[in-house]
């Protein structure tokens, strides 16, 4: 770890000023991803700007239009256990609690969660080719061990996946990311926040250097009646998703009137396809309907040597999670498959 300067941002404006004028500066919130990246020498900031002392954005508030605002500096744990979130957005709560460990969730911030980097093995090893880490050096994963990699939206340059659980729920809930930067404030629809790798895999998202995530807005509709988060992985806790599914349903009897499905562990961003959700509208909430949606969601999926199983697994997970959303009270800890 290199020597570095440390400063606490007194305000959002102060933070923007400190980082935007210094391309060797970085923000820190919970530090749970940044410190790892630093130790692995994937970033070596010379100035660390701590956002935790900024007065605002430490709370979760209901707004007049029915939406809820999550402060960027609220911890993942406090968010998951917040009464408003548990009541109105239990899908988000379950997704957060399916991630990392209790200790990490206590430190991790809502803003930082959106910006965590991929867990691609090769990305973390500065001595091997990786386009995301060292643009132009090549991708070790495409012909390497790609069990944890993407089957959707990948490019020849990078097949990494975005590892967040929380963001899968945020994508399903149509969240909006509020930011503040040198060009003023922006409100970015969740689907436009993260990027596909294309020919610029080094860029995970559309946030600019020195721009701060200040809050995340959750629209009124929270699918708190019928929801489920399912996470499939190599152990029952404390592992990243091979496949995860966030499903929210609105039902009239057993007819689906509105649906959201977002997938994690499959692409460079949480995966949502509007047609799949439109397909479900007016259909019966049963395995057959979810299977139809799964086909649409997985269209164009392409497996590699070690991850082709994800195509079939994702389809089955979508079906199961649709059925699980009919009985949200049966959700098991760790977002394991329930009956």
């Amino acid at each position: 770890m290199n020597n570095f300067d440390y400063q606490q941002a007194a305000s959002i404006a102060d933070g923007i000023q400190l980082v935007s004028t210094n391309n060797k500066a970085a923000f820190v919130a919970g530090g749970t991803n940044l410190i790892d990246l630093w130790k692995y020498r994937l970033m070596e900031p010379e100035l660390l700007v701590d956002l935790n002392q900024v007065k605002e954005h430490h709370s979760i508030e209901e707004k007049e239009d029915g939406s809820v605002r999550l402060g960027a500096f609220v911890s993942n744990a406090d968010t998951a256990y917040h009464p408003i979130i548990e009541k109105r957005y239990p899908l988000l709560s379950k997704a957060i609690l399916a991630g990392a460990s209790a200790q990490i969730r206590n430190m991790a911030s809502n803003g930082g969660n959106l910006l965590q980097r991929t867990r691609c093995y090769y990305f973390y090893d500065p001595n091997v080719p990786c386009n995301k880490r060292t643009p132009g050096s090549g991708c070790s994963a495409i012909d390497g061990y790609n069990r944890i990699h993407a089957i959707l939206g990948a490019s020849d340059n990078c097949i990494a996946v975005f590892p967040s659980d929380m963001c899968v729920a945020l994508a399903a809930l149509d969240a909006v990311v509020n930011t503040s930067g040198t060009d003023g404030e922006r409100s970015i629809p969740f689907s436009e926040f993260h990027r596909l790798p294309g020919d610029m895999p080094e860029q995970d998202n559309n946030l600019r250097h020195g721009e701060i995530i200040t809050s995340i807005d959750l629209p009124e509709k929270g699918f708190s009646g019928n929801y489920s988060y399912l996470k499939l992985r190599d152990r029952h806790s404390y592992a990243f998703a091979l496949v995860s599914v966030a499903t929210g349903l609105e039902l009239s009897g057993d007819i689906i009137t509105d649906a959201r499905i977002a997938l994690g562990g499959l692409a460079h961003k949480p995966w949502r396809i509007n047609e799949a959700e439109l397909f479900l509208k007016g259909k019966q909430a049963n395995a057959e309907s979810f299977a139809g949606a799964a086909e649409i969601l997985l269209q164009g999926a392409k497996g590699f040597k070690y991850n082709s199983f994800k195509i079939e697994l994702a389809k089955r997970a979508i079906i199961r999670n649709g059925l699980m959303a009919l009985h949200p009270e049966q959700q098991l800890p760790g977002a394991r498959p329930s009956a």
């Binding site: 770890m1 090769y122 070790s140 152990r235 029952h236 592992a239 199983f309 997970a317």
Partner: protein, 745 residues
Amino acid sequence: MSDQSSVGKPVSRLEGRLKVTGAAKYAAEYDAPNLLYGYVINSTITKGKITSIDTSAATAVEGVVAVFSHENRPELPWLDIKYADMDAPPGTVFKPLYDNEIKYNGQPIALLVANDFETARYASTLVRFEYEEEFFETCLDNNLEKGRDAKKGIATLLKPPPPAPTGNFEKAFENSAVKHTAEYLHSTEHHNPMELFATTTVYEGNGKLTIFDKTQGTINNQLYVANAFGLSYKNVRVIAPFVGGTFGSGLRPQHQLFLCVMAALELKRNVRVTLDRKQMFTFGHRPQTYQKLRFSTDENGSITAMNHLAIGETSQFEDYAESVVTWSHKLYPAANTLLEYKLAPLDLPSPLDMRAPGGCTAMHAIECMMDELSYKLKMDPLELRLRNYSEIDPSTGKSFTSKELKQCYLKAAERFGWKDRNPEPGSMTRGNKLVGYGMATGIWDAYQFPSRIEAIITKEGKLIINNAVTDIGTGTFTVMTQVAADALGLPLEDVTFNYGDSQKPFSMFQGGSAIAASTASAIIIAARALKKKLLKKAKAISNSPLKAAAEDDVMFKNGTIRLKKDPMSVVSFQEIVASNNGRPVRTVNMGMPHAFKLRKYTKATHSAAFVEVEVDKELKTIAVTRAVSAVAAGKILNPKTARSQITGSMVWGISKALHEETILDEKLGKYINTNLAEYHIPVHADVNELDVIFADEPDELINEAGVKGVGEIGLVAMPAAIANAIFHATGKRINKLPVHFDELL
């Protein structure tokens, strides 16, 4: 025996409080004045030569003291034999910083020493190496044809080569009623105990060193350091009272010890070297192993022929071998056997013993094979084991010193509820989960090493036992205190067991589940001698009430010697020491295995594991919902510490079957998931009900203590029991470990 006899009771760890309060000190926690910190620099290529080293940027950093590499290393004896530790396999031992040759990725190629750890770690990133790369091979699967016999050496004593073939395998197999052939592949596993490898070397001057090290053998490392650096033995002291898990990784001196001592001697300073988690993947590991088995039986299920071929990986410089193919014939009789073991040298570091090395690898294959045969025979898997049960060791014709495997089978089956099993795969369900029951057998060696004990009665009438042995978390400190207390009839608090120090009398390294048997037996022998001496001295006291007493007439109780017939005739230990002019009464004795008597016997521990798994019908996620292990390991000295050895091993079994693997990228020639986020071991959510049964297994033959050791046996049967349960649940055989749930899709 005294009233308060403690052997066999569930005494809690005597050092437990120190451990949970953080007061227990580990190798990296000893402070020394003006301590320097070394950080190991690892090769980033897999094979080739270092052509140049540029340290200028690193040495320019404030606080950097030195960079050691092959270019400037001190002159040292470079004879291989000088580096051969007690556990060195045949071949050429790896000598850190010897020359510019790179033999494997991650090889230590330099040590950067600085005033603090952070500076050392940072500056190490500024050292520039130029390499000339060479073609390498790291993938076992692609190199099976390179398999050849293992070279022989000292290590062969504990790990004998496969026995010669018996009968005519090919013919018998061909002509048998029922036969099966299957291949098994095991992934690499790396040692990841909680405590990272670390050494703190205190430079005492005058060629003297005190070394706090993470090790399983204080004397092994003392000899290694003294030999490699040309120091006299008595000037090298290795101390390791607390060791945070090792499981074989501390059997051999690791490179941080060498580098730390080298730096301390060169700089004449106190130095600490700690590896980080990533660097835990740069030395020994459980080797990738390929196995092919062909077994056949007659129509009644009696085994007629067994062929077990195993090909393990080793390095290009040492022949690390395991006992893989020796087990099937120790368990099951067969007139025709062909047991073959080969090594394929690859461009990797030498593998290293890891809990039940070879045994858990082999028994996975053997016991899955038995399960396959049971299905072909339409016979209950337990019934098939009983059909082939042998009271003697079929491979030698010798008797066992004791063998209560049948008791293990029956008790565990009963506790588990095996009789409720419907043999049809996929027939048992629970909601949308398929339920599978699987069972398997375990067998492991029961070794005993020589051990030397100093036993002292102090003027306060208390007992001190001294021995160089370590306690690698197994409970040795507690259990040996119990054994000593009972042997002298003292309460636990009157016994001090000093250990973990090479200055104490000899002990081998703590491995092979041998230490409980070795140290306990030696303590019993030493206590016997001490009691004799005490009685002699008691009788010599003027007016001694014991004047006429023979050994059989007295009992030792609460720090006194009393006549059995007249308990009021007493001489206390304090009086004896007082009459000895206040000098403590002391004996030193060697405990040795009864090699001659035991020649006629096979010594082994046995176990049976019964496992229930649930597999999701559509998604195929796997959970080990409960497991029962019954273990026959002679006398159980402390059921609490023993149980924790077995449950810990059972969790390891879950890990081996379902989680643990170091992924090797064969194109890059390196391991890629070298951190605990991606190197999966079970977490609490993966571990459910674990039940342990200890069989009654009195063993008067094996050693003074009647003890066999429980450090490894709990692991051996688990992986196969889990794999068999998965088959029972799903009808699918996955013979590559760990099983990935998606392979069941």
